[in-house]
Symmetry: C2
């Protein structure tokens, strides 16, 4: 039998990730997450929680919610079925290029910060 899956309320997740419930609902409005409903209340699964983490990671990197949705959608491929592989590979490569550029930018800035600190003798 399957192990009982953990469940979360909206305010639990909000507190855990230090954001507001409003934000989480907003992400749902933007179709970035869609928790189960028990009556009117939202119930979040561990899988939903992971999605939220992905969203916040994207935010920290400066992606828009629309971009984040594109990225997240990559995770929801129908497992075996590859639904336009060439198109997907293109998308993935785009993401990768952006991230590599960001990493370059970060390394550059880190170096600059080192230099600046050096000037503060």
């Amino acid at each position: 039998m399957t192990v009982a899956e953990k469940e979360y309320t909206i305010s639990e997740l909000a507190k855990e990730f230090d954001i507001t419930s409003r934000s989480i609902r907003h992400y749902e409005d933007e179709n970035l997450i869609s928790p189960e409903r028990r009556g009117t209340h939202r119930i979040y699964s561990p899988r939903d929680r992971v999605r939220l983490q992905l969203i916040l990671r994207g935010k920290r990197l400066g992606f828009s919610l629309a971009q984040i949705r594109e990225i997240i959608d990559l995770y929801d491929l129908p497992e075996g079925k590859q639904k336009q592989t060439t198109l997907l590979i293109g998308l993935i490569q785009e993401r990768r290029d952006a991230l590599l550029q960001q990493r370059k930018d970060i390394n550059f800035m880190l170096k600059e910060l080192d230099m600046l600190e050096g000037k503060l003798d």
Copy 2:
């Protein structure tokens, strides 16, 4: 004698960095850059050009213009004079922490992209 410094018009820089003149003027409104004026026209020096590059780098990393201004201001320290070193070191450390977190996020996402691509066999 000093070598003649290169000069740029607003539209030259706009074209070079693939942004609009409007954006550049906006950065000026927000005190991120302040080119020389020759009459009413703006004249950009190589130093201004570097500042613009810093701005765009910050943007690619998702920083707000206000944050970018803070970062840029670090470059304009009165050379020898250290004006509240402890405070500055704190600021620099904050920036560094944020960048290191971002680099972690990036590395995480890159790994995920690799895995996703693996599933597309």
